[in-house]
Symmetry: C2
Subunit: 269 residues, 2 copies
């Protein structure tokens, strides 16, 4: 991956980038590629559980906002990236079996079955482009589980996960609420501002779900910084453990699907 400069990675088209994932050339994270293009999280589940899962997403729409659904058995998301292959085009996956992680592979060809459905979910990596376009550049503080319960559906239940961003000051925090609110399909506005203990996060230096992206030393807010927390599709990782369905496959940490739509297109889908 060192063959590419930072600028070359940003200039890749989603199709070029997905081909690099498909061939195995790229197995790293999806931050910093395909400037301006939206990325989605992924949940792959058997059709048998898909109705309850879709209802679960509807009942927790800011955490799990459905943006595309494959036909049963098809790995191609028809609306957002019809030529993408969900089995190979993410850099890395997590495979759960009965609630346990059994594999963290770079493709899921050997796990694919005719009864699987792929659900693409809005990812805040999308509105990060919009923040940057407005010169609002928070420090990433990773993804945490909270003590906030989701609204259950069938066997799906559990706590909401949140991504945390640290903003220089209130001015930038307010701008970020404005900007993310325009991106309602990719989580929309934050669900909490300020004291992390209020949503059950006791140690800001140690995100339990996904470590931060980029230079984040020190973790937790500096004096004057404002911490804001967005509902996050990593909620799926809590759900997969709790629901214990026979198979559920999700995107690995910071390894999303880059789709053919720009973040600003997804905002007005």
């Amino acid at each position: 991956m060192d063959r590419y400069t930072k600028e070359e990675l940003l200039a890749l088209t989603p199709r070029e980038y997905r081909r690099m994932c498909r061939s195995g050339e790229w197995t790293g994270e999806t931050f910093g590629v395909c400037r301006g293009y939206a990325q989605t999280d992924l949940a792959i589940i058997p059709r048998k559980y898909a109705y309850d899962y879709l209802v679960f997403c509807h009942r927790n729409p800011r955490a799990l906002s459905v943006v595309d659904i494959t036909d049963v058995g098809s790995p191609h998301p028809p609306r957002l990236a019809p030529d993408a292959d969900l089995r190979t085009d993410l850099p890395r996956y997590i495979v759960y079996q009965n609630g346990e992680i059994i594999d963290e592979p770079n493709d899921i060809l050997k796990y694919w079955r005719d009864d699987l459905v792929g659900v693409l979910l809005g990812c805040s990596a999308s509105f990060d482009w919009a923040l940057r376009a407005a010169n609002v550049e928070p420090r990433s503080n990773g993804v945490f589980s909270t003590n906030v319960p989701s609204v259950p559906s069938g066997i799906f239940y559990g706590r909401i996960a949140v991504s945390c961003r640290l903003f220089k000051n209130s001015y930038e925090a307010v701008r970020a609420v404005q900007i993310s609110s325009r991106h309602l399909i990719v989580h929309g506005p934050p669900m909490h501002i300020g004291d992390p203990a209020f949503v059950g996060i006791n140690d800001m230096s140690n995100p339990d779900l996904i470590h931060p992206y980029g230079d984040v030393t020190p973790r937790g807010p500096l004096p004057g910084e404002v911490a804001m927390f967005w509902p996050c599709s990593a909620t799926n990782r809590l759900v997969a453990v709790d629901a214990k369905i026979p198979v559920m496959i999700v995107d690995h940490f910071r390894c999303m699907l880059v789709i053919d739509k720009r973040a600003e297109e997804v905002a007005i889908l």
Copy 2:
């Protein structure tokens, strides 16, 4: 219904109004009641078809935007009006059997079954409050079927229905795009501006799905007026005929469910 003044109807709470529908006291349309509160369209279908139907809604999100889903067999929408009863709290219903209208009753108690699911869908009657709040007051021109195909899912397919509003001038039309775009969950922005023939509407004086509300003479735009067309949940009526599922129940013309959330709350759900 003549017992109530216009202002008394506007001042009703959703709960009071739903009770009037439930008791049979109110069987008329839901425009002009419960000022500021959102209204939703309704599709009731057997669980057997509900997965394909939800996927259909996802693939046509501006026409059919899902805002709440009942548990299987429950007539109570948990998220938006938990004490509402979908069997009695709309003024009137249309009952389809194998694609044919078999009844247009004021309640559906006798059609209710343990395998039915209620899906609440965003309705533009919600953003009409926001238009009025901004002194943008279009003439209603009713609801038409178009020649624009929906994206199919399973047995669900068909053309998109649109509601048409006529705006005094471009200034008001632009304001209406801005305002309705804030209400993405209730259809969002118009899908077409201008020539109705472009979406297959050849006779603006004769809406084939729902007649206009209020004083609309003459129908079709006056000189200088701008016609705009919003995707509409009346798409369900085209779908019900085409899909021919054993039973599908939808809201009757202009007889929606008034929910406990204000239109502006639904905009940021």
